[in-house]
């Protein structure tokens, strides 16, 4: 018999089901083995009292996640109230269009100037045009869009003004009168060729402001 083999009597004894083996050697060997097992068992960590509860909670959570996913893959019957659905759709389309206008392709390519805003250096543009019905400012700061920066009447008759917040930098621009005539600003730092056979006004905005000619 090798060291790992036990008689039936010894096996029952070690399982706690019978008396010690009759054979003295077998009894002594089983006793040593039982003592070693008891010693190892003493070193084992005893599971905490809430182990069962934690295992069950984890199983339930996993089952809940599966149920959530199943809801999406399972077919459902859809009931729509037309009035409510239409109202929701209108609200979302309006919101979507508003956001698109803010960040979409029509956005200016350079840091957007803001009329009388607080970002950048405030620069006032002034133009005398008594006969004009509408005057706007178009330039490299607003993608040459003649509808975003509109002048308003100044305190004097025929004088149009707009104040724009511009980050320091160099800008080319023109005044647009009645949406048709593109006119240079005589107070700009310089007039430069626009590559199309006309001229643009040039203004360099410093961090501390602008002194014009």
């Amino acid at each position: 018999m090798n060291d790992d083999a036990w008689t039936n009597d010894a096996q029952r004894f070690l399982d706690g089901d019978g008396d010690p083996p009759a054979d003295a050697d077998e009894r002594a060997r089983a006793g040593r083995f039982a003592a070693e097992v008891a010693m190892y068992a003493a070193d084992l960590d005893v599971p905490s009292a809430d182990l069962d509860a934690r295992v069950l909670a984890a199983v339930r959570a996993r089952a809940a996640r599966r149920a959530w996913w199943r809801w999406f893959v399972r077919p459902h019957r859809l009931v729509i109230r037309p009035a409510l659905a239409a109202a929701a759709a209108v609200v979302l389309v309006v919101l979507s269009a508003g956001v698109a206008r803010m960040i979409g392709p029509g956005a200016p390519p350079v840091p957007a100037p803001s009329a009388s805003g607080s970002d950048g250096v405030l620069v006032r543009f002034e133009f005398v045009a008594p006969a004009a019905h509408r005057v706007s400012l178009a330039g490299s700061f607003n993608g040459w869009n003649d509808s975003t920066l509109t002048f308003s009447h100044g305190t004097q008759a025929g004088v149009w003004t707009v104040t724009v917040a511009l980050p320091p930098g160099e800008y080319q621009y023109l005044f647009v009168v009645d949406g048709e005539r593109w006119i240079p600003d005589p107070t700009a730092h310089a007039q430069v060729k626009d590559e199309f056979g006309q001229t643009n006004s040039l203004l360099v905005v410093g961090p501390r402001g602008v002194v014009r000619s």
Binding site: G169, P186, V211
Partner: protein
């Protein structure tokens, strides 16, 4: 309530939705402004070509938008863009020759603008070599080109920028055109200004735009002025 949520989901998921942030697309910008395909096609191809060549596309896109806004004929816009593209190529070569192995787009664009305003390759190279950083070099090029456009001799414009590089690390570069306008407004001739600069004096920053003057830059010019010389001068 469930139907409301479902409709919201459908609209958000299937509707056009807002455009996501992306590289600038001159075709879309022109289309949004109502430009026809006959205008957009040639312009888009030129911008694409520049992009493929590693050139900054923004100056070309800006010029295309400007041309459309001014209702310039498409062939004329395409011609102007091609000229700009060639200047961008030349400006990049000058920057590389000046020691900037991979010049940033802003520097290439500023160099091309300077070439367009008459600055020579040697002057542009000097400004790039004198700058402490590529970004400072780009601003220096812009400002030198502006000073030249204001009527200052080119060598004086370059000297003024180099003086500003050394004087305060280039912090006042964007103030130089206002400084020149201020001197001009006082009746000082461009020749006298150039002489002063070439003697090493640089361009004096006017007191109202200088240090210790609070934040006058955020104050627009006072009311009562009229368009014309000095009308927009800050008070």
């Amino acid at each position: 309530m469930r139907s409301l949520l479902v409709v919201c989901g459908l609209v958000l998921g299937l509707g056009p939705g807002p455009a996501v942030a992306q590289d600038r697309d001159v075709r879309r910008e022109l289309a949004a402004r109502g430009a026809p395909s006959a205008f957009i096609g040639p312009v888009g191809m030129l911008v694409d070509r520049a992009r493929l060549e590693g050139l900054p596309a923004a100056p070309l896109a800006d010029k295309a938008l400007e041309g459309w806004a001014k209702r310039v004929p498409p062939d004329r816009v395409a011609g102007a863009l091609e000229q700009m593209r060639m200047r961008l190529v030349e400006a990049r070569a000058i920057a590389v020759q000046a020691g900037v192995t991979d010049p940033p787009g802003v520097m290439v664009a500023a160099g091309a603008e300077a070439l367009g305003r008459g600055l020579g390759a040697d002057e542009i190279g000097t400004l790039i070599r004198s700058a402490r950083t590529p970004e400072q070099g780009a601003i220096g090029l812009q400002v030198a080109a502006s000073l030249a456009a204001q009527g200052l001799a080119r060598n004086a414009a370059v000297a003024a920028v180099r003086h500003a590089y050394e004087r305060d690390g280039g912090q006042d570069l964007f103030e130089l055109p206002s400084a020149l306008a201020d001197l001009s407004g006082q009746g000082v001739s461009m020749a006298d200004v150039a002489q002063r600069i070439m003697r090493g004096g640089g361009l004096p920053i006017p007191p109202m735009a200088g240090r210790g003057s609070g934040r006058p830059g955020n104050v627009p010019p006072g009311p009562g002025g009229r368009a014309g010389p000095k009308s927009g001068r800050r008070r």
